[in-house]
């Protein structure tokens, strides 16, 4: 029993049993309907001939391709990729005859299924063993709650601020007038958020949000990965970025 799997952009949409034969095209009387202007009304057909499966182009406007080559008639091999318009049909020679999908085509993408935590853990375990290198953390959550070995700080070099040094503990640290800001700027005309500093991997990325902040005397543009010794100038305040070693107690713990 052989089948064709319809794909778009590499994503499988539907399985079709080849059976005695199927036609492929844009019109509703085809077994495989691809509703796309690049596909002809009756574009191609696939049928069994002896124990071989044949693909035949039905003189379509835009042609039928197998593994990148235009064909008019082609004996399908296992895993051949047929391109029609922008859709792909992957040929599977050995689809199990017991599969219900072989007789009844699947409804659209099929229904969404949910694995509960127990099933998911079992799956994770098998995936873990299959993983080539287990060094990578599994979820972002784990990365967030782990205690960083070193933390970035902003040291106040010039200008008036509430503290001499600000530790960049949060996921996002703000310099600005906002009351959620780590480094508070005072004054009506200061921007609510002048600079946002976000944790990114093991480093920090600064983005200018308002006013005209400078980094090392040049305008801060786009995203800037902070380096030891970088000087941020924000509304008359000069801040130096530095790394601080040592284990920090987790405040949430």
């Amino acid at each position: 029993m052989s089948k064709l799997t319809l794909q778009y952009e590499g994503i499988a949409l539907k399985d079709y049993a080849v059976g005695a034969g199927v036609t492929i095209g844009r019109l509703p009387d085809n077994a495989v309907i691809i509703d796309n202007p690049a596909v002809s009304g009756h574009h191609a057909r696939v049928f069994e001939e002896g124990h071989r499966v044949i693909l035949e182009d039905l003189r379509s406007t835009n042609g039928t391709f197998v593994n990148g080559r235009p064909v008019t008639r082609h004996v399908l091999q296992h895993r051949d990729e047929v391109l029609i318009g922008k859709h792909q049909l992957v040929f599977d020679q050995n689809a199990a005859a017991t599969q219900p999908a072989a007789d009844a085509p699947m409804q659209g993408l099929g229904d969404t299924v949910y694995l509960d935590t127990k099933q998911h853990r079992a799956l994770r375990a098998t995936l873990e063993t299959a993983r080539a290198d287990a060094a990578k953390p599994v979820t972002t959550r784990a990365a967030v709650s782990s205690v960083p070995r070193r933390v970035g700080v902003l040291r106040v070099i010039a200008g008036s601020a509430e503290q001499d040094e600000y530790s960049l503990d949060g996921n996002t640290s703000i310099i600005g007038r906002s009351n959620t800001a780590l480094v508070r700027l005072r004054g009506w005309f200061k921007p609510a958020v002048a600079v946002a500093i976000a944790k990114h991997g093991s480093g920090y990325v600064a983005t200018a949000m308002g006013g005209k902040p400078l980094v090392n005397q040049s305008p801060l543009e786009g995203r800037h990965a902070l380096q030891e010794g970088d000087m941020l100038t924000v509304s008359g305040l000069v801040l130096e970025f530095a790394w601080k070693e040592g284990v920090r107690a987790e405040s949430a713990a």
Partner: protein
Amino acid sequence: MRLRAGARTDTGRVRPQNEDAYMTRAEQGLFVVCDGMGGAPAGEVASEMAIQAIARELQNHENGDALEASPFLPHTQRLVDAVRQSNEFIYGEAQKDPRQAGMGTTIVSAWIREQIAGVAHVGDSRAYLWHNDRLEPLTRDHSLMEAHIEAGLADEGHSLPVEQQNVLVRVLGREPAVDVDVTEVPVRSGDYVLLCSDGLTRMVAESELALAIRTYQDPQQICDHLIATANKNGGADNITVVVVEVTGGWWNRLLNGVGGHLRRTLSREAASSSTLNDPRPH
């Protein structure tokens, strides 16, 4: 900073009903998309419940404190707390009513305050940021597919059997507690935040999402175009898109108004001429 939002949901061309739901509150900066579990009992109820629970949680105490100390900004943490509470709520309702047992929903939510977007999600509904002419994913699906990709066992979209492509490993409402993925990203004038259900991302390539934003620029027009594209490509599932445009103050809009109009006109012409290169219709 000002936010302009567009949104649209569509049943698609295969499913009998729409189990997606969304909420846009541009004034508050709050945006949510939920995808009720397809075919599962009361999928449309679960997605609607999630939206209402979030709305309720975040409406009454606009400036309330986060429940726990957190590395995230207060509004981000409150969004995460609201998502967790909506999970408990849906789970509780499902236990009460046997007709609703087993209902579940995905959620992707963004709360944008003072130019920082807090994004919380569970499941395979996604968030993207359009920044500097590039589309960046803000979420990773909680799906079997993604788990395989992470483990290095599969390339995107390729080697997983069809029947395993719809398997989610995390949803709201199915278990008493849920892990919520969180991220924060600064947004600036000219950026867009896009939230969508998998009915869009399975039918429309990321490059086409980017092209739609670049071409149409107006949030509602982007949504309308993307829904039409998803349906043209098969519409195999319910489709929901929310697009949020971050704009400057009124003086910025005044300054950019003329230039922006010109850019739009030019890029539309570029887009319509590029479609001429597509394969000839029959």
